[in-house]
C-alpha cells in the first residue's frame, strides 16, 4: 500500500470515551485511519458503532480521549479553540445528516456565511456562493429559504456551504440519512462527481451499502473499531457486468 507523505487526515489510536466510572461508554476505540488527497472514503457500520463520533473527532468538533488527529500534517491537540475553528472553517467542509441550515437565511446567504465569517467582502462572498450553488444544481433556488426547499435541495445547499471554502476535505455525516432512496443516491452521485471531476477529498459516514459503495475505499466499523477495509477495484466495462447479471 503506497502512502502519501502527508495524508489529508490522519487519526492515530483514537479513543473517545463518554462519561466515567461504571457508566463509561467507549464510542471509538483505538482507531487508526488515514485519508489521502483526492480519495473518497466511506465509513460504514450499524448505528451506534461510533462512526459519527469518529467523524467528529477527525473534524475537530470533539476532542479525543486519547490518540491524536492530524489534519494536513498539523496536530489538532496543539491548537487552541480559535485555531481549531479557523481550521474547521477553511480546511474542513462538514455536512450533517439533518441538513442544519439556518432557517432565517436564504440559500445563498447560508452558503455565503462561512466566507463572511472568514472576512471576505459580502459581494465576493455572494458571488462565490452563487457559483457553488450552480455547481450543485440549485441556480434557480438561490433566494429560497430552507423551508421552501425539498430535503434533497436542502442537502445540496448544505453541500454547497461545505464546499464554498474549497476545503481540503469534505466530511459528510450520513448525508443521505434523511432522504429517500432516489434523492439520497443523487447526493451520493454528486459527491462521486466532485471526487472524479474536481479531485475533492471526501470522507463520508453512512450505513447505506449502496451509497457507501460509491466510495473508493470502504471502512467497516463495529463497536467503535475498524474491522475491515475494502479498496474498490476499477470497475469492469459495463457490458461485462450486464452480461454477468443476465446470467
Amino acid at each position: 500500500m503506497t502512502t502519501d507523505p502527508i495524508p489529508v487526515i490522519r487519526g492515530s489510536a483514537l479513543t473517545r470515551t463518554f462519561g466515567d466510572g461504571a457508566a463509561a461508554v467507549t464510542a471509538v476505540s483505538e482507531v487508526d485511519i488515514e485519508v489521502q488527497r483526492g480519495e473518497f472514503v466511506a465509513v460504514m457500520g450499524p448505528s451506534g458503532c461510533g462512526k459519527s463520533t469518529l467523524l467528529h473527532l477527525l473534524a475537530g468538533l470533539d476532542p479525543p480521549t486519547s490518540g491524536r488527529v492530524m489534519v494536513d500534517g498539523r496536530d489538532l491537540a496543539d491548537m487552541d479553540d480559535d485555531t481549531l475553528t479557523l481550521l474547521r472553517r477553511r480546511r474542513i467542509g462538514f455536512v450533517f445528516q439533518a441538513f442544519n441550515l439556518l432557517d432565517v437565511l436564504t440559500a445563498r446567504e447560508n452558503v455565503a456565511l462561512p466566507l463572511e465569517l472568514d472576512g471576505r467582502r459580502p459581494a465576493d462572498a455572494d458571488a462565490r456562493a452563487v457559483a457553488v450553488l450552480e455547481r450543485v444544481g440549485l441556480s434557480d433556488r438561490l433566494d429560497h429559504t430552507p423551508r421552501d426547499l425539498s430535503g434533497g435541495e436542502q442537502q445540496r445547499v448544505a453541500l454547497a456551504r461545505a464546499l464554498v471554502m474549497e476545503p481540503l476535505v469534505l466530511m459528510a455525516d450520513e448525508p443521505t440519512g434523511n432522504l429517500d432512496t432516489a434523492t439520497g443516491q443523487a447526493i451520493t452521485d454528486l459527491l462521486r462527481s466532485l471526487v472524479d471531476d474536481a479531485g475533492q477529498t471526501v470522507l463520508m459516514v453512512t450505513h447505506n451499502p449502496r451509497h457507501a459503495s460509491s466510495a473508493d475505499r470502504i471502512l467497516h466499523m463495529r463497536d467503535g473499531r475498524l474491522v475491515d477495509e475494502q479498496r474498490m477495484e476499477s470497475p469492469r466495462a459495463a457490458e461485462a457486468l450486464i452480461a454477468e447479471l443476465q446470467g
Partner: protein, 841 residues
C-alpha cells in the same frame, strides 16, 4: 452582513420576545431619561432664570442677602479695571393683577439708556419705555393676559397696586425669556416704587472686557466692593433652588436605578430564551467556523441593537414621563417651570445606558455560551455532560450583593459616616441589593418548590404539580422572571411605603406646625427663589386692631449665607404657640423663640447636617453689615427651602438682614370668631391688596401636590408591572413552545383544555408567590433605607410605619399580574391543534 441579517430576521420572527427585550431597556431608560430631564429642566430653569436676567453679563454684584443696596456703586464698578459695562437692575417681585386672578411676575427696573449693553431688546411692536409710568412686556405675556400696546397693566408690588401703561411688546428670546417670560421692564424708579419706595437697586450686572478673564475681574471687584456685597456669577443664585430639589432628586434617582436594574433582568431573561432557542443555530455556526469571539460579538451586537432601540423608545417614553413629573415638581415647588427642554446630557446618558446595560446584562451568558463546544450545542447530550443547574456560587454572590444595601442602611440608621455621601450611595446600594435578591431567587425557589407543589396540588390538582415541574425544568428562566416580579414588589411595596410615609409626614407637618386659621399674602413665594411681593409691616397694627383676631404672626423669607453656603432665611414672629417650637429637632424647645429674639438663630436640619453644626455652636451669617457670628439655639425640621434654612426672630432679621416687608401674615381667630375674622380679612384684602387663604385651603393645596406625587408613583409602579407581566407572558410562552410536543401528547392522551390552562396559570401563580419572598424582604429594606436616608438628610426622625394596605395591594397585584399574563400562553397552549403539536419540533 449575513450575521447581522440573521440577527435581524430572528428578532423579527420573534416579535414578542424582541418587544420584551426592548421594553425592558425602554423602561429603565425612560425612568432615567425622564427623571434626569425633569431634574435638568428644573435646575436649568433656576439657572436660566438668573443667567437670562444677567443677559451678557458674566458677573453680578449683589447684597449678600440679595437685598437692596445703593445704586451709586454702579459708577464705581463701571470704571473698575477689566469692566466693559456695568448696569444697575432693581428687581421687584410682583403680581400681575389681571381680571383672571393674580400671577407672579418679576418687574425689572433698568436704565433704558445703558441696559442695551447687557440685554437685547427686540421689539415686536411699540417702543422702549420712556418714564416710570410705562412698561415693556413680552408679547407672549401680552397675548396671555389680553393686553395691547397702550393698555394699562395692573401690577401689585410690595408697595401696593400700581397701574403702568404698556409702551412696547418684546419678541421671545433675549430679555423677554427671563423667568419663563413672566417679566416686565420699567424704569429703576418704578421698580423701586413697587418695592416699597426702597431707594436701592438689587444688583449691578457687569460685562467683562473682551480680553479680561472673568475670574480675575471677579476677584479684583470683590476687593473693592463694600462689606456685605458679593461679586458672583449669575448662575450662583440657583444654588438655593437646587438645594430645595435635593430630596426630590434623591427619591427619583433611586427609582430610576431600580427601573434600570429591572430592565436589565428583563433583557437578560429574554436574551437567555433566545439563546436556548437558537442553540442549534449557534452550534452550527460554530461548526462552520465561527470563532468564539465572533459568537460573542454577534450576541453583543444583538444586545446592543436591542439596547439602542430600547434607548430610543425609552427616550420617547421618558419625554412623556418627564412632562408628568415636571408638572408634579412644579406643583410641589410652587413655581412655574418652563416646558421640558431636551438637553444633551440625558440623551447621551440614555444612548450609553441603553446598549450599555443590554450588553452588560448579556456579556456573561454570551461569553459562557461561546465557550461551549459545537457538538455539545448540537444536542449531543453525551458529549455535553452538562447540567442545567444554576451555578453554585449564586447564593454566596447574592448574599454579598445584599450586604452592601444592608450596610448602607445600617450606617444611615446610626449615621456614622458623612450623610450626604451615604445618601448618594443609596441608589447603587439598592441596585446591588436587587441583583443580590435576584441571585438568591434560584435558591429561594428550590426551597419553596416543595411547599408550593403541595399547596398547588391541593388547589389545582395534578396540574399544579405539573406546573411546578415545568418551572423546575427551566430554573434559570423561571428565576429571572421571578426576579423581575420581585422587583415589581420591591418598587410597589418598598418605594410606595416610603413615599407614603413621606406624604403622611408632610401632611402631619402641615397639621401641627400651623396652628393658625388664616393666611394673608399677596403671592406665595416659590421654593426656588422665595421671592414674592411683600406687604408693609405697618399692616400689623390694622390686623391686630380687628376684634375677631387672637394671634397675628408674620413671616418673611430672604436669601443669605451661613458659613458661605447660600440658604433661605425665614424671619418670623411667633407669638406664644408659634410653629417653630413644634418643629424643634435638636435643642431646647421651650424658650427657643426667646433666645431667637435675643439674637440667636435656628438652623434647618438639612443645613445643620451639612455644616455639621449642633446647638450651642456658632455660625457665621452674612448680614448687611458683613459677616457676623451667631449662636445656634436649635435645629428645626422644616420642609421649607429643602431644609436649607436659617431661622431668625423678626426684630433680629430686620436688624441684621434688613428685611422690611411681610410675605405672609398668619392669623388665629378669637374663640368662636372664625367667620367674623374671615369676613374682616377679606374686606381688608381688597383695600390693602392681599389674598386670604384658610388653613383648609392651604392644606388642600399641599394635598393636591402630594396627590400628584402619589399618582406619579402609581403610574411608575403600573409601568413596572406591565413590563413584569410581559416577562411572565414570554417565559410561559417559551415553556409552552418548548413543550409543544409534550403538551400535544398530554392533550391527545387525557388532558382537557381547561386542565392545560389551569396548569399554565398555576405556574404563573407559583412564580408570583415565590417572588413575594425576596420582593417583600427587599421592599422592607428599601423602605427602611429610604426612611433612614430621610433622617440622614433632614436630620429628624420619621416614624417607620408599614402600610399594610399597600402590602396587601402589592401581593394581590403581583399574583394578579402574573395570572393575567399567563392567560395568553395558556390560551395558546389550550387551543393548539393536537396533531400539529405532536409534530412540532
Amino acid at each position: 452582513m449575513i450575521v447581522q441579517r440573521y440577527s435581524r430576521r430572528y428578532m423579527r420572527r420573534r416579535p414578542g420576545r424582541t418587544m420584551l427585550s426592548v421594553s425592558g431597556i425602554a423602561i429603565g431608560v425612560a425612568a432615567i431619561f425622564g427623571i434626569s430631564l425633569t431634574i435638568g429642566t428644573t435646575r436649568n430653569a433656576y439657572q436660566r432664570m438668573f443667567s437670562e436676567l444677567a443677559g451678557r453679563a458674566e458677573l453680578e454684584i449683589v447684597a449678600s442677602g440679595y437685598g437692596a443696596f445703593d445704586g451709586d456703586l454702579t459708577r464705581l464698578m463701571a470704571n473698575a479695571p477689566g469692566v466693559a459695562a456695568a448696569v444697575p437692575v432693581a428687581v421687584a417681585a410682583a403680581a400681575l393683577t389681571s381680571a383672571g386672578g393674580w400671577s407672579a411676575i418679576q418687574v425689572l427696573g433698568v436704565d433704558p439708556s445703558r441696559d442695551g449693553l447687557v440685554r437685547d431688546y427686540r421689539f415686536y411692536r411699540g417702543r422702549m419705555f420712556t418714564d416710570g409710568n410705562e412698561v415693556v412686556i413680552p408679547v407672549a405675556l401680552a397675548d396671555r393676559t389680553g393686553v395691547k400696546v397702550g393698555d394699562a397693566l395692573g401690577v401689585m408690588g410690595s408697595a401696593g397696586s400700581v397701574s403702568l401703561r404698556v409702551s412696547g411688546l418684546l419678541e421671545g428670546g433675549g430679555a423677554a425669556a427671563f423667568n419663563g417670560g413672566a417679566v416686565a421692564f420699567t424704569s429703576l424708579a418704578a421698580a423701586q416704587r413697587l418695592n416699597g419706595g426702597a431707594v436701592g437697586i438689587t444688583s449691578i450686572q457687569v460685562v467683562v472686557e473682551r480680553d479680561a478673564r472673568p475670574e480675575e475681574v471677579q476677584r479684583s471687584l470683590q476687593s473693592i466692593v463694600p462689606a456685605g456685597m458679593l461679586v458672583q456669577t449669575p448662575a450662583a443664585r440657583a444654588a438655593l433652588g437646587e438645594a430645595a430639589l435635593f430630596g426630590t432628586e434623591r427619591g427619583l434617582g433611586v427609582l430610576s436605578v431600580v427601573s434600570l436594574v429591572a430592565g436589565a433582568f428583563v433583557i437578560l431573561n429574554s436574551f437567555l430564551m433566545g439563546l436556548s432557542e437558537r442553540t442549534r443555530s449557534f452550534a452550527l455556526m460554530r461548526a462552520l467556523g465561527m470563532t468564539r469571539s465572533q459568537v460573542v460579538r454577534m450576541l453583543m451586537g444583538e444586545a446592543a441593537l436591542v439596547g439602542a432601540i430600547g434607548a430610543v423608545v425609552g427616550m420617547g417614553l421618558g419625554m412623556a414621563l418627564s412632562v408628568v413629573l415636571n408638572a408634579i415638581v412644579a406643583g410641589v415647588l410652587g413655581a412655574a417651570l418652563p416646558p421640558i427642554r431636551l438637553t444633551w446630557p440625558p440623551v447621551a446618558l440614555s444612548v450609553l445606558l441603553g446598549p450599555g446595560v443590554a450588553v452588560a446584562a448579556t456579556a456573561l451568558p454570551a461569553r459562557r455560551f461561546s465557550v461551549r463546544s459545537p457538538l455539545e450545542l448540537l444536542g449531543d447530550r453525551r458529549a455535553a455532560g452538562l447540567t442545567e443547574r444554576p451555578s453554585a456560587w449564586l447564593p454566596g454572590a447574592g448574599l454579598a450583593c445584599l450586604l452592601f444595601p444592608i450596610l448602607v442602611t445600617a450606617a444611615l440608621v446610626w449615621n456614622r459616616v458623612g450623610s450626604e455621601r451615604l445618601v448618594s450611595l443609596l441608589a447603587p446600594a439598592m441596585a446591588s441589593g436587587l441583583i443580590g435578591a435576584a441571585l438568591l431567587v434560584p435558591g429561594i425557589f428550590a426551597w419553596l418548590c416543595r411547599p408550593l407543589e403541595r399547596g398547588l396540588t391541593r388547589v389545582a390538582g395534578t396540574e399544579g404539580r405539573l406546573a411546578i415541574r415545568d418551572l423546575r425544568r427551566h430554573r434559570i428562566r423561571s428565576s429571572l422572571t421571578i426576579a423581575v416580579l420581585a422587583i415589581c414588589v420591591v418598587v410597589s411595596f418598598g418605594f410606595g411605603n416610603s413615599m407614603m410615609i413621606s406624604v403622611d409626614d408632610v401632611r402631619q407637618w402641615v397639621d401641627h406646625v400651623t396652628p393658625y386659621d388664616y393666611f394673608a399674602r399677596r403671592l406665595w413665594p416659590d421654593v426656588g427663589t422665595m421671592s414674592a411681593p411683600t406687604m408693609p409691616e405697618s399692616l400689623e397694627g390694622v390686623l391686630r386692631s380687628l376684634e375677631s383676631v387672637d394671634v397675628v404672626d408674620k413671616l418673611c423669607w430672604a436669601a443669605t449665607r451661613v458659613n458661605g453656603v447660600v440658604v433661605m432665611s425665614e424671619i418670623g414672629s411667633y407669638s406664644g404657640a408659634g410653629p417653630i417650637a413644634q418643629e424643634v429637632a435638636e435643642g431646647d424647645a421651650a424658650g427657643l423663640y426667646e433666645r431667637l429674639e435675643s439674637g440667636e438663630v435656628a438652623l434647618g436640619s438639612v443645613l445643620a447636617k451639612k455644616l455639621n453644626v449642633r446647638p450651642g455652636q456658632t455660625v457665621t451669617v452674612q448680614t448687611r453689615a458683613g459677616q457676623r457670628p451667631m449662636r445656634v439655639a436649635g435645629i428645626i425640621s422644616s420642609y421649607t427651602g429643602g431644609g436649607m434654612t436659617l431661622h431668625l426672630a423678626w426684630p433680629v432679621g430686620v436688624d441684621t438682614l434688613g428685611v422690611s416687608g411681610v410675605h405672609v401674615w398668619m392669623l388665629r381667630a378669637a374663640p368662636g370668631r372664625r367667620q367674623a375674622l374671615s369676613d374682616a380679612l377679606r374686606r381688608l384684602g381688597v383695600e390693602h391688596g392681599f389674598h386670604v387663604q384658610s388653613m383648609e385651603q392651604f392644606r388642600a393645596t399641599v394635598d393636591g401636590a402630594m396627590s400628584g406625587v402619589v399618582a406619579a408613583l402609581w403610574v411608575i409602579i403600573a409601568f413596572v408591572f406591565v413590563v413584569a407581566s410581559l416577562g411572565t407572558v414570554n417565559t410561559l410562552t417559551m415553556n409552552v413552545i418548548e413543550q409543544m410536543r409534550q403538551l400535544g401528547l398530554m392533550r391527545a392522551v387525557a388532558m382537557t383544555r381547561r386542565q392545560v390552562r389551569r396548569m399554565i396559570v398555576s405556574a404563573a401563580a407559583a412564580m408570583a408567590l415565590t417572588s413575594l419572598v425576596p420582593g417583600v424582604a427587599m421592599g422592607f429594606l428599601l423602605a427602611f433605607a429610604m426612611g433612614a436616608s430621610h433622617h440622614a438628610v433632614t436630620g429628624y426622625h420619621v416614624d417607620m410605619t408599614i402600610h399594610y394596605s399597600l402590602l396587601a395591594v402589592t401581593v394581590i397585584g403581583a399574583v394578579a399580574t402574573a395570572v393575567a399574563a399567563a392567560l395568553v400562553p395558556a390560551q395558546r397552549a389550550a387551543s393548539m391543534p393536537i396533531i400539529e403539536a405532536i409534530r412540532y419540533e
